[in-house]
């Protein structure tokens, strides 16, 4: 079943001359994980906002085409209707904190408050999210007294607790330590196995290549590619697309080692083709 359908999506910010999103089309199946990559300013965050309805409902401007999320056409839905189906973790975690809550626990529970859950259900959901992001020990701390990475973990936990059927994450690991980054990606893996559909903007190509089913490459507001990691990172015009392949792929490219028609994109894949040579 298609969980996200984007059709000829166009968007221009009021103050801008150029389109921030220019005829974008792609579809995502239930439980798929999509990585969105591309240069700074290529339109990744704007696309995230369009998936959750902040564009066009909050950001005005010229809007065209369609975004359909879990059967709901975003243009015709309210932001709160959309929020029940699709959750977003913003690029800068500092902007996600509500400022209204005194503890990390309450902050993570915030989105659940109006969902009509029993107290027991609520506690179970919040505890699971806190454990998943490894911030359970800080649950009684003030959100603003967290370190940058702890705050980013809290922002992700708040959305995961709500269990939307689709989750959009805009550079969720930018301030996480290496193990935290790995934990976020494996948590997404776990949640997608339970049916959650994941769209994740990321600059860490090694993780995107390992965990995502498909990669959307954005360039100047356009869809420059939408394909499997192996196909995308095997292209020889990557620098024109404004992206760089994973370290593993670069090494295999330099040594001319492919696996079938494509270059390996993961540690395991690279070790396989390079190891065989020795």
């Amino acid at each position: 079943m298609k969980k996200v359908i984007v059709e000829n999506l166009k968007y221009r910010y009021p103050a801008m001359k150029q389109l921030a999103l220019d005829e974008i089309s792609f579809e995502v199946e239930e439980g798929e994980k999509i990585g969105v990559i591309g240069r700074n300013s290529s339109g990744k965050s704007t696309l995230c906002q369009a998936l959750v309805g902040l564009t066009p409902h909050f950001y005005k401007g010229t809007y065209g085409g369609r975004v359909i999320v879990d059967g709901l056409e975003i243009k015709h839905a309210t932001v709160s209707e959309a929020a029940l189906k699709v959750g977003i973790v913003f690029q800068n975690p500092f902007t996600q904190v509500t400022g209204a809550k005194l503890t990390v626990y309450e902050e993570v529970a915030f989105g659940l408050e109006n969902m009509g859950l029993s107290r027991a259900e609520m506690i179970e959901k919040v505890d699971r999210a806190l454990h998943l992001l490894n911030i359970y020990p800080f649950r009684n701390q003030n959100p603003f007294s967290l370190s940058g990475g702890q705050m980013q973990r809290m922002a992700i936990a708040g959305i995961i607790a709500m269990r939307p059927s689709i989750i959009v994450l805009d550079e969720p690991t930018s301030q996480l330590d290496p193990q935290g980054t790995e934990e976020v990606f494996s948590a997404m893996d776990e949640l997608s196995a339970e049916g959650m559909t994941v769209v994740i903007v990321e600059h860490k190509m090694e993780k995107v290549a390992q965990y995502c089913d498909k990669i959307l490459v954005m360039k100047d507001g356009k869809r420059a590619a939408f394909d499997t990691p192996a196909k995308v990172f095997s292209r020889d015009d990557l620098s024109e697309l404004g992206v760089c392949a994973p370290v593993y792929t670069n090494i295999c490219k330099a040594l001319g080692k492919k696996e079938g028609a494509y270059y390996p994109v993961t540690l395991a894949g690279a070790a396989r083709v390079l190891g065989a040579r020795r």
Binding site: G38, R39, N40, S41, Q91, N92, F94, F138, S145, L146, S147, G148, G149, Q150, R153, E171, S174, Q175, L176, D177, P178, Q179, G180, T181, E182, H203, E206, G242, V243, C244, P246, V247, Y248, N250, I251, A254, L255, L267, A268, A270, A271, L274, G275, R277, R278
Partner: protein
């Protein structure tokens, strides 16, 4: 250039003479000397990295221990005097940026430490040029993308021309071009004889750019050494929630004997084999 001795710090009030074992300390008994070697500070989220550099900059005061910057005792000097020697790029740009235009923002620091208007302008233009922001002089910093905000913060600190520059997670939100830009800046500052200390979670970046690596864990200094020493210590890395650089992970899983820190190292090693 910086000397730290038996530094303890807690965010909770702490007035006892000796460290209180029941209390949460963000930093515990840290001692180290910072010289001109480009230095990375790495460690898990909450390890105390940001807290540590805020103390060096005089924004927080140690509970006990001694910190001197260019020979001056931090607890006896003023923030204004410290600002002439030490520049800090904040982890969260929103904590640092407060002026209405990019130009005013970058001018604030240099003027504030007493640089003349002309010299300040020259220094600012050079820094903004290097960060490729000179076409955005009149833009409101808050309208910049997060990646550009971070670059503006770096430019503003560079413009102050201090001997010590601390970067708290400079590569947040940078694409690969921005990441290369940050690398170039670190090399440039090193070549100018400045002491550059960088907090960063990107291990491949660390392996490529820093001579010295200090590992923090749960408020303590776990290890202080060169990239090869740090990244070949698997047990220590695990304890600190860190990983070897991706290139080294590949070298290890292929059983290459050499500690290959970068893409280029692995390629060379494979060609020689």
């Amino acid at each position: 250039m910086i000397s730290v001795q038996n530094l303890w710090f807690s965010y909770e009030p702490d007035d006892r003479k000796r460290p209180n074992p029941d209390k949460k300390y963000a930093l515990r008994d840290i001692s180290l000397e910072i010289d001109k070697r480009p230095t990375a500070i790495i460690g898990q989220n909450g390890a105390g990295k940001t807290t540590f550099v805020r103390i060096l900059k005089g924004l927080l005061t140690a509970n006990r221990g001694a910190v001197t910057v260019m020979g001056e005792d931090v607890s006896r000097t003023t923030a204004a005097r410290l600002a002439r020697n030490i520049g800090l790029v904040f982890q969260n740009p929103n904590d640092q940026l407060f002026k209405k235009t990019v130009m005013d923002e970058a001018m604030f620091g240099p003027l504030n430490i007493g640089m003349g208007e002309g010299a300040a302008r020259k220094s600012v233009m050079r820094a903004l040029d290097i960060m490729e922001l000179s076409d955005k002089l009149d833009t409101n910093p808050h309208d910049l993308a997060l990646s550009d905000k971070k670059l503006l913060c770096i430019a503003s600190v560079m413009a102050m021309d201090t001997d010590i520059i601390i970067l708290d997670e400079p590569t947040i939100s940078q694409d690969y071009v921005g990441r290369e830009k940050v690398k170039r800046v670190i090399r440039l500052l090193r070549d100018e004889g400045k002491s550059v200390m960088t907090i960063i979670h990107d291990m491949d970046f660390v392996a490529e750019c820093f001579e010295r690596i200090i590992v923090f864990n749960e408020g303590e200094k776990l290890l202080d050494g060169g990239a090869k020493e740090v990244f070949s210590d698997a047990e220590m890395l695990k304890k600190a929630h860190l990983e070897p650089p991706y290139a080294l992970q590949l070298a290890i899983s292929m059983g290459l004997g050499e500690v290959c820190l970068t893409e280029a190292d692995v390629i060379r090693c494979m060609m020689e084999a």
